[in-house]
């Protein structure tokens, strides 16, 4: 009986813990957090940004975490899967390193640096929506060991430079959507709300051609 009693005690503790965690997650979901805000685009001041909408966090070791920026996470809508090159693969700048999939279509993101893939975030592969909810913290996608950090960072944007660039990108995107909207939607409402604010997840509603154009104009510019 003692063995069963111990087993039952452990199982009860695990069940209670599961329920406590679930309740806590629910509570956390209601807490407003700037990083998760849907009204604003967030740019961490200490992160490097590439012009293909990926961010890089330079680590103590010289390696970098790479993910997609808040702009992509706001405009893309839902994400069904993320495909990543395997750990150990050598990557060249401009070659695709990961794909974000939405149904049958995908966005292929070029590598912002030359280097070797050291690690892949298993959490985003398991729950791809993490990159939408928390693009800069838990939403990192891969870790790369750049061949030459010094020369790589020169081509990246940081601080005010990055924020100026992102503002410009958002403007460019607004123009892009205004131009393309009539082609896939007879009325602008599904994409543009009052005051010209781009509706979150606007790309989810666009047709294949617009999607490809977006990929070409915003993601594959290197």
């Amino acid at each position: 009986m003692v063995a069963l009693f111990v087993l039952a005690t452990i199982l009860i503790c695990i069940t209670v813990d599961y329920l406590v965690q679930k309740a806590q997650k629910k509570r956390e979901a209601y807490q407003p957090q700037v990083v998760l805000s849907t009204e604003n685009f967030v740019i961490p001041r200490g992160f490097f940004f590439s012009k293909v909408h990926t961010w890089l966090e330079l680590l103590f070791s010289g390696r970098v975490y790479v993910g997609v920026d808040d702009f992509v996470s706001k405009v893309i809508g839902k994400v069904d899967a993320i495909e990543v090159l395997p750990v150990g693969e050598r990557v060249r700048k401009g070659e695709p390193i990961f794909k974000i999939k939405q149904g049958n279509r995908s966005l292929a993101f070029p590598s912002p640096v030359n280097g070797k893939i050291i690690s892949v975030n298993p959490n985003v592969l398991e729950s791809p929506e993490t990159i939408l909810k928390d693009p800069y913290l838990n939403g990192w996608i891969i870790m790369i060991e750049p061949e030459d950090v010094a020369s790589e960072v020169k081509n990246l944007l940081i601080g005010n430079e990055a924020s100026r660039w992102l503002r410009n990108e958002i403007k460019r995107f607004k123009e892009f959507i205004s131009r393309e909207a009539p082609k896939f939607s007879p009325v602008p409402e599904p994409t543009l709300a009052d005051g010209g604010v781009v509706v979150k997840g606007v790309l989810q509603n666009v047709d294949e051609k617009t999607w490809e154009k977006f990929e070409k104009e915003f993601i594959q510019q290197l």
Partner: protein, 394 residues
């Protein structure tokens, strides 16, 4: 400076309740004796404290020597990042085993006797020396984390130069200790139920410890990744799970050999409490984990791996409790069930282990720095309002 959040969480409240009850039980145990604090008797002298706190505690601490052997003896460098946390778990596990022994010994003040009163023919003598020496080795293996924090470079260098001898000593002592806990039960062939009695007990104990070591490292990584909001090293842990699977397969073969050699079929196929407990233990601790961990999809999924390794740990606990308690019940007819004070002491010891791990992991460099430094990006960001950008009407 940050204002500390003093809000009591659910588990925080449970911890303090356990501590209060544990302190009461401790006072009762050391003022009124074992008779007042436990349901142990001359007929049944080893109960929950030995069965769970000591036998399971030692086995669950096996991750330390398994990972240390993998890194330094088999040169599998990729496991290095999880070594400090495995060493810490093992060190705390052994310290708590000693605490549990102090509770269980009738005369705890004589715990040091094996140091000078040698009885090399006794298995208990071997166990006592293994605990003493291995705890010392673990303390030395753990010390670099402390020296690093205190920026003491000289002692850190000395310990570093001793790493290989320490790891070799740790692996030898653990192997001796894990197996000698099984040997302990070789001296009670007439008392232990035939299902569990076997001359293979030392090997079975050792193998199950090798299997459960990586399982405990996985669970510890999972829980600490949640507590400290760090990434779990799934690629390392999923490879480590193969060690568990292989060790359990060897265990399976040895156990089947026992069933055949000792002609246990009538015992295991009877509708008795012991046979049901055996099947539960065998299914939960061996068959289900092998089936789950040999599936690469489960090994690569965070939740799948956690559940599979949790089942391994539960099966291991069942095995140790079956050997130490279930297997002795029918012979002794003592009808032992622990008193609430015994249970509260066990919970107290486990809770202290969790609290100590949390405290040490928070203040010492237990986890790899790349993961640690990501905590700093909670501030220093700029927000561009969408309305500011799109203020003009289309």
């Amino acid at each position: 400076m940050k204002i500390k959040n003093l809000k009591l969480t659910f588990w925080g409240a449970v911890f303090w309740i356990i501590v209060v009850l544990g302190i009461y039980s401790t006072i009762l145990r050391f003022t009124k004796g074992l008779g007042a604090a436990t349901n142990l008797s001359d007929k049944f002298p080893w109960g929950l404290w030995i069965g769970f706190d000591v036998l399971c505690g030692v086995g669950l601490a096996a991750g330390g020597f398994v990972i240390a052997a993998a890194v330094y003896i088999f040169n599998l460098e990729e496991y290095k990042s999880i070594l400090p946390s495995a060493i810490l778990t093992a060190f705390l596990g052994y310290l708590l085993v000693i605490v549990a022994l102090i509770y269980d010994l009738g005369k705890p003040w004589n715990i040091w006797h094996p140091i000078i009163m040698w009885n090399p023919e006794s298995v208990m003598f071997e166990v006592a020396w293994c605990v003493m020496l291995y705890t010392t080795v673990l303390a030395l293996e753990f010390s670099p984390m402390l020296f690093q924090k205190l920026r003491l470079e000289k002692p850190q260098k000395i310990i570093k130069s001793l790493t290989i001898p320490l790891v070799v000593a740790g692996v030898i002592l653990s192997t001796l200790h894990q197996s000698s806990l099984g040997s302990l039960y070789l001296i009670v062939p007439e008392k232990l139920h035939p299902i569990w009695y076997s001359s293979n007990l030392p090997y079975l104990f050792f193998l199950s410890a090798v299997a459960v070591g990586p399982a405990m490292v996985t669970i510890e990584s999972y829980l600490s990744s949640r507590a400290f909001r760090r990434e779990i090293e799934i690629h390392i842990l999923s490879r480590l799970a193969k060690v568990t699977a292989v060790a359990l397969m060897v265990y399976f073969v040895l156990k089947v050999e026992d069933i055949v050699n000792y002609k246990l079929f009538p015992y295991i196929f009877s509708l008795r409490y012991e046979s049901l407990m055996f099947w539960l233990e065998f299914a939960v601790g061996v068959i289900v984990p092998i089936a789950l961990l040999t599936n690469s999809k489960i090994r690569k999924s965070k939740k799948g791996l956690f559940v599979a390794q949790l089942i391994t740990v539960l099966g291991f606990i069942l095995n140790r409790l079956n050997v130490s308690i279930t297997g002795l019940e029918s012979y002794t007819q003592a009808g032992y069930f622990p008193k609430w004070t015994e249970i509260s002491v066990t919970l107290f010891i486990v809770a202290l282990g969790f609290a100590a791990f949390r405290l040490i992991a928070k203040h010492l460099p237990v986890f790899p720095p790349e993961v640690e430094e990501r905590k700093t990006i909670t501030e220093g960001f700029e927000v561009i309002s969408m309305r500011e950008v799109f203020k003009e009407q289309i």
